[in-house]
């Protein structure tokens, strides 16, 4: 168990490409940090630099109190779970779990007891003599987890561990990982491109984009106060609606429809963000603005109405099971409207008149 300090770490490849650009994250002891972002944002590279599988071009990584930039992966006191599990195909589950301990010269009796403990925790006891080939995807994933647990490392590193599982298994494994991490209290860094996985697992989220950090915060912080249009569009399902708005008559308008009141001075244009679930359907003529309905997605608990406002797409989530046709009148509480600078995409406060 240890604190992990990532201090202005950069990765520059020999061809000049910068994959990670001066990233700093401070992971507290026992914390579950999720690095999330689209593919190619550098999240895996960052994790691999912490693991020692990738050289650190600039900056430093500290695990515990020790700078590990030049330390071999085996000596960093970390364990890693890979996307494709990376189990040793010719070894039994028992040997897979024991291999890391064996290499460290752990006494036989202790290996046996640690493997037994991990197997019990992960319900792998019936499969210890099997080869990975004879296991299902979920079981293989558990073996991969077990291989990390038996080592009792200072930190777990997860590299998209659930991506190869089917949707249902993914949800249950997600729960298991969370429970396990809580119980063991081991500092964890988890990489995923799935925002739902990120939201459900994380103590704190790190949203990465193009090698840099967009925002760090608790899942709810990030959900309620996205720092940029990128975060707003990435976190939450469906993604936040982002519309280009202009200032007119003291209001923010999309086309000629008024969305919300604006403060007296400020930018002439902005990107406004509205969560699909914050939009409510109002009676026709009750004010608000109208959306031309395109199509409707049925999700069971709710339905998503896809439409256009002044030629810009908008999604509304509603539990109403009415027949919707043509134009829908929408309203939103002004405090639920987010504003981002049109040029930079950064969040701006105080552009809406308080109401």
């Amino acid at each position: 168990m240890a604190r992990i300090e990532i201090n202005q770490v950069s990765k520059v490849y020999s061809n000049g490409l910068t994959a990670v650009n001066s990233v700093s994250v401070d992971v507290a002891d026992g914390e579950f940090i999720v690095l999330v972002g689209p593919s190619g944002c550098g999240k895996s590279t960052l994790l691999r630099m912490v693991a020692g599988l990738e050289d650190i071009s600039k900056g430093e990584v500290k695990i515990g109190e020790k700078v590990v930039n030049k330390t071999d992966p085996a000596d960093r006191d970390i364990a890693m779970v890979f996307q494709n599990y990376a189990l040793y195909p010719h070894m039994t589950v028992y040997d897979n779990l024991a291999y890391g301990l064996k290499n460290r010269g752990t006494p036989k009796a202790e290996i046996a007891s640690r493997v037994a403990e991990a197997a019990r925790m992960l319900e792998l006891e019936p499969y210890l003599e099997r080869k990975p080939r004879a296991l299902s995807g979920g079981q293989r994933q558990r073996v991969a987890m077990g291989r990390a647990i038996v080592r009792k490392p200072a930190a777990f590193l997860f590299d998209e561990p659930l991506s190869n599982l089917d949707a249902k298994l993914r949800v249950s494994m997600r729960g298991e990982i969370r429970k396990l991490q809580r119980r063991l209290g081991t500092t964890s860094i988890y990489v995923t491109h799935d925002q739902l996985e990120a939201m459900t697992l994380a103590d704190r989220l790190v949203v990465l984009n193009a090698g840099g950090i967009e925002q760090i915060g608790s899942p709810l912080d990030i959900y309620h106060k996205p720092a940029s249009t990128f975060v707003a569009g990435f976190i939450g399902s469906p993604a936040m609606n982002l519309l280009n708005a202009t200032r007119g008559d003291g209001n923010w308008k999309v086309g000629d429809q008024t969305i919300a009141a604006a403060v007296a001075n400020g930018e002439a244009t902005a990107t406004i963000g509205m969560r699909a679930e914050d939009l409510t359907i109002a009676a026709p003529g009750a004010g608000g603005f109208t959306m031309k309905l395109d199509y409707l997605e049925e999700l069971g608990a709710q339905r998503l109405l896809h439409g256009m406002v002044d030629g810009q797409p908008l999604v509304v989530a509603t539990a109403l099971e009415d027949d919707f046709n043509g134009e829908i009148n929408l309203a939103i509480d002004p405090k639920d409207v987010h504003y981002f600078a049109a040029a930079t995409g950064k969040r701006i406060q105080h552009v809406a008149a308080s109401s």
């Binding site: 020692g52 599988l53 364990a79 040793y88 010719h90 291999y99 890391g100 291989r147």
Partner: protein, 280 residues
């Protein structure tokens, strides 16, 4: 589903006959007496001299010095075959390991340099090779017979391709598990390559078993004669009106075919696996 028709069977049976008949003829002929073969030609019938022919083929001392027996030649062929196969596997695995996992400069280039030597048959470099061995005083020794032919472009190529198809995560997991380059090779790479090793072993064993020109050049001592040379020397004894021991030549030929056949039969499951799929 395709339903097999009688014609298909006919074609297959004809194909089988085409492959098997020469071997059967060789075996049957070997059970006759030399004089009989000389006057009547090849045989398809059982000749009742099976035991004596094969016993004498294996134990009769022959050659110019009258020292070398068939059994001795069989042993030499085995030493050559197994020496080649094992040596080539060890060398080419290590070479491929270095090329794939140690990212030194010019790794790809050096691989292709090695690989192009595939295009040069042994015969091209046979005289310089002989010269080197002669200067090292390794003529008439197993070392001289085996070592110069051990570097194998084919083997290196196969193992390189195989290692490249092993997922990188396996190496990374092993590194995190504290396995250094040596442990990774022994504990992980070697076991998962075993079908590949079996396939290469068979190919290389047969290659070594069938060597003819190189042993002929390298050895003058008949104690190093291989089966291939033995067959040849039996047919060379035209002295006066003596009839060559056709029966023994055929017997030796049959004996020469047996070990590779048995090897393939025993390892065939692994052999096919090694060449077609990988167990990862």
């Amino acid at each position: 589903m395709y339903k097999t028709k009688p014609l298909d069977h006919l074609i297959l049976i004809l194909g089988c006959l085409l492959m098997v008949t020469p071997v059967v003829v060789a075996f049957m002929t070997s059970t006759h007496e030399a004089a009989e073969i000389h006057s009547k030609g090849l045989m398809l019938s059982w000749g009742n001299h099976f035991e004596e022919t094969y016993t004498s083929a294996l134990t009769k001392k022959g050659g110019f010095t009258g020292e070398v027996t068939g059994a001795r030649m069989l042993l030499n062929s085995f030493i050559l075959g197994i020496g080649f196969a094992l040596g080539k596997i060890v060398l080419s695995m290590l070479a491929a390991y270095a090329i794939v996992y140690f990212r030194f400069r010019f790794a790809t280039l050096s691989f292709w340099v090695i690989f192009t030597t595939l295009l040069l048959p042994l015969e091209v470099r046979i005289v310089p090779s002989y010269q080197v061995m002669s200067n090292l005083h390794l003529l008439n020794s197993y070392t001289g017979l085996i070592v110069p032919l051990l570097a194998s472009a084919t083997g290196t190529f196969y193992f390189r391709q195989f290692f490249m198809s092993v997922p990188d995560e396996l190496l990374e997991a092993a590194r995190i598990d504290g396995a250094g380059p040596f442990r990774f090779f022994i504990d992980i790479l070697l076991p998962i390559s075993r079908t590949m090793i079996a396939a290469i072993f068979i190919i290389m064993f047969v290659y070594g078993w069938n060597q003819y020109l190189w042993p002929m050049l390298m050895t003058t001592d008949e104690g190093f004669y291989t089966l291939m040379r033995g067959i040849k020397s039996i047919l060379q004894v035209w002295i006066g009106s003596q009839i060559p021991d056709y029966n023994e030549a055929f017997a030796l030929a049959v004996l020469a075919v047996l070990p590779p056949v048995m090897l393939v039969v025993i390892f065939q499951r692994w052999f096919i696996k090694g060449l077609t799929e990988s167990d990862k």
